[in-house]
């Protein structure tokens, strides 16, 4: 068989690799063939018959979405017969479809509308009554309007193949065919909304977004979801400083079209009723609202006094703050306040991994590498729950590339379904179990290794040398919890390591030690909630908290400064793989300030010279001084993800008492933020049979 294959479309000679489908080959050559059911990456369906083309010597029109190119094939995509067939198909699709685009939620971004406009007949010969079925609500976020459905099976396939949930099916026959949820009248699923996003018509609509606006009235801003460490791009639909929806219909970013419930709906915490919108100072034991100038002046004055008296500062940074903020905060702490006590809640042992990989290049896997790897080894993490994008990629890898997947986890995980081997062991025994997989891993030929908090400290080095001993190329992902957990490590919010994992001049106390230190004079917490489940030993400590909500930590604070969410500021974040992406400011919220702005104002109040607190300038400093962050700016400026190279030298990791523990979030939780998201609390699944953490 010739490869590449030469064939002719509309009189134009084209070439494509053998096995390419005609519809794909045409698309690449700039020839559009309309289709509904065909969807790149999903199984072929050939249900909608929109992509019919005329092929020379074939007795009938053929569906180009299931037709591989053949040598010498002559195809017509715009011949009168094809044009006529498309008109007829659309006429059929519209027999029962309501013609009420002006009231349909999909109007303006509906594929059926576009196709009718472009290829449709403009009139119908059907005079019969339309078959009507009432609209149904399947869950708080999913509505189904059967008459609008054109039975393209996209939702059924994305749920089964993409998400591995299989919550949707088609029941009945012919004109009565209907998409049906797995629990009869409701859904028990991930509630990810992929079915809504992928629906070409207005049959599946989102309970969060429907009937709020029109797509053309919104501004569409690419932001990075702040809920887990995967760094999915979520395109926010914004109108009047209100986020109305999140999706990724343009398939941009590292996640393509994928988003989980958190990326798609859980931006709603930004407008939660309990959102702090004014600074507060504790007066007579009670927090009282004050102006920003008063609060900032007070903090600057107290910090100045404590510093002058040689007091002991503890600084705890946040895992959802931007790189710029984290970098500036550690600089503020180490240079401005002169304290070595700086830390954050750690969820994965990134320094140990980077140390174990010292001197290598390209040893860290990107989200894309995971999709292309021949073998995937998952250790100690329930990916479907904690890292939905990485789980999606693993499933896609197994589906498209027949990757060998190995799971070594405590309990059953969804990835078992695609796993070549699934092994069970408690956190302490997982490394030993991995070592029994030697021959299988070797046979896979290439590996991406993902590990959670069960592999930390010396075990990381042991894991890397074991994989090395197999002699197969391997890349690693150290799983961490939130949108910038990785960047927080990279920026040096660690007691013993500065930015770029350079040894700190002086080793300070870790988070647990700070909280337990009765002699602490000041505690500064930025975007974290360390006092959830822990007590502060120091009675006299002056506590400053920057947060969006009155968390347990904020309730103990002497000064609370309301901060901006990830969707209200610019900056960069680094995902669990080490890919840097840029946040774009989507909305403004009254009364709050970005953490970086707060640092800048405090620095000015204390007359500290720490450089300008402007995201772009701080990022320039990061690019110049933090190893691996010298990333190409055009890549991130245009919404792409840039990989950071690991450090080349050894990292002084030994001798540190460390607490590294993942929060073990599920699909429906996101640390302290969970309780402020209406959607996450609205769905019935958590905790459900399928969703036990």
């Amino acid at each position: 068989m010739a490869d590449p294959v030469t064939f002719t479309v509309n009189g134009k000679s084209l070439q494509a690799p053998a096995g390419t489908l005609v519809i794909d080959a045409c698309k690449r050559a700039g020839i559009e063939i309309p289709a509904f059911c065909y969807y790149e990456g999903l199984a072929l369906q050939a249900a909608c018959r929109m992509c019919l083309v005329e092929v020379e010597k074939a007795p009938k029109l053929l569906a180009s979405c299931t037709l591989p190119v053949a040598e010498g094939m002559v195809v017509q995509t715009e011949s009168p017969v094809v044009v006529q067939a498309r008109k007829a198909m659309l006429e059929f699709l519209l027999t029962n479809h309501p013609l009420d685009c002006p009231v349909c939620d999909k109007g303006g971004e509906c594929e059926l509308q576009d196709m009718s406009f472009r290829y449709g007949a403009g009139e119908s010969r059907f005079t019969e009554m339309k078959q009507h079925v009432d609209e149904k609500q399947w869950s708080p976020v999913v509505y189904f309007d059967a008459p609008r459905c054109i039975l393209c099976y996209r939702c059924v396939r994305i749920c089964d193949e993409g998400l591995g949930v299989k919550a949707l099916g088609v029941t009945n026959r012919g004109v009565y065919s209907e998409i049906t949820p797995n629990k009869g009248d409701h859904l028990d699923c991930d509630e990810c909304g992929a079915c809504i996003d992928i629906c070409p018509v207005g049959a599946l609509t989102s309970g969060i977004y429907r009937y709020q606006t029109r797509p053309w009235e919104m501004e569409h801003i690419g932001a990075i979801c702040s809920h887990c460490g995967d760094g999915c791009k979520t395109t926010l639909g914004v109108k009047n400083d209100e986020i109305l929806r999140g999706n990724n219909r343009d398939r941009s970013g590292i996640n393509g079209e994928f988003l989980c419930i958190k990326g798609r709906y859980a931006f709603d915490f930004v407008s939660h009723a309990e959102r702090l919108q004014s600074p507060m100072i504790r007066v007579d034991g009670k927090l009282e609202e004050v102006s920003w100038s008063k609060a900032l002046a007070f903090v600057a004055q107290r910090f100045g006094e404590i510093k002058a008296a040689g007091g002991r500062f503890g600084v705890i940074g946040g895992e959802r703050s931007t790189n710029e903020e984290n970098y500036y905060l550690q600089k503020f702490a180490r240079v401005g306040l002169g304290t070595p006590h700086i830390d954050h809640r750690r969820s994965g042992d990134v320094p140990a991994l980077l140390d174990a990989l010292h001197g290598r290049q390209g040893a860290l896997a990107t989200v894309d590498d995971l999709y292309n790897a021949k073998g995937v080894l998952i250790i100690g993490a329930d990916l479907a729950q904690q890292h939905p994008l990485l789980a999606f990629q693993t499933r896609a890898d197994s589906r498209h590339h027949q990757a060998k997947v190995f799971t070594v986890t405590e309990g059953p995980v969804r990835e078992d379904k695609v796993a070549a081997k699934k092994l069970r062991a408690g956190p302490a025994g997982q490394l030993a179990v991995v070592k029994t997989l030697g021959e299988d891993l070797k046979a896979a030929g290439e590996l991406v290794v993902l590990f959670g908090d069960s592999i930390q400290g010396a075990a990381v080095g042991e894991l890397v040398s074991f994989i090395d001993s197999l002699g197969v190329p391997a890349k690693y992902i150290c799983l961490v919890d939130y949108s910038n957990s990785r960047g927080t490590c990279d920026m040096g919010l660690l007691p013993h390591l500065g930015p770029g994992y350079q040894a700190a001049a002086q080793t300070g106390m870790g988070q647990a030690e700070m909280l337990a230190d009765p002699a602490l004079d000041a505690l500064w917490v930025v975007g974290a909630n360390p006092l959830a489940g822990a007590a502060l030993a120091s009675q006299q400590a002056f506590v400053v908290v920057q947060d969006m909500f009155l968390t347990e930590t904020a309730q103990r604070a002497d000064v609370v400064l309301p901060s901006a969410s990830a969707y209200e500021k610019t900056g960069t974040v680094t995902n669990t793989c080490g890919q840097v992406q840029r946040l774009r400011k989507a909305i403004s919220v009254m009364g709050v300030k970005a953490d970086l702005d707060i640092f800048g104002l405090l620095a000015r109040g204390m007359r500290l010279d720490l450089g300008r607190a402007v995201p772009d300038q701080v990022f320039e400093e990061i690019r110049a001084s933090v190893h691996g962050y010298n990333v190409p700016l055009p890549v991130i400026a245009t919404g792409g993800a840039a990989m950071t190279d690991p450090v080349h030298g050894r990292i002084p990791v030994a001798g540190q008492a460390q607490v590294i523990q993942s929060a073990r979030d599920t699909l429906f939780t996101s640390g302290s933020l969970t309780r402020y998201s209406k959607t996450l609390n609205l769905v019935l699944e958590a905790p459900g049979e399928l969703y036990k953490p």
């Binding site: 299989k166 099916g169 088609v170 029941t171 009945n172 026959r173 049906t180």
Partner: protein, 159 residues
Amino acid sequence: MTFSPELEKRFAEMAAKYPEGRQKACLIPMLMYAQDEVGHMTEELKEEVAKRLNISVLEVNEVVGYYTMMRKKRMGKTHLQICTNISCLLWDGDQLWERACQKLGIGHNEVTADGKISLEEVECIGACSWAPAIQVNYDFQHHVTPEQLDKLIDDLRNA
């Protein structure tokens, strides 16, 4: 849910015919045989079959919804199917259908009050050469005359 020992044996034989991991292929025969014993597609039956084949109830529903021979509600002890498709129609199959409806006082997919007989107007049952044809449970009757139909119904009523 439990089935009779004969049916259990039949299921076991069926499952052994398919390669490991392809037991899902037993779905249709399993449902049909179980229907013969249970009467119609009860929720309990669908759940049991789904459990045995390790598939979801939704997948069973997809199949059950598609096939009219998988009954969604309880039918009579004898299920009378009368063909009114083209060949039978030419031999007055439609009149047989109307006669049966009048005699029993029920319509399409309905059951007599005593639960003995149910009626269904069916599309071609593949007996065109012997039209008009009717199907009594699994048995065919060929060249049916109105008198034969009356006698059949009377016999069934008195049985």
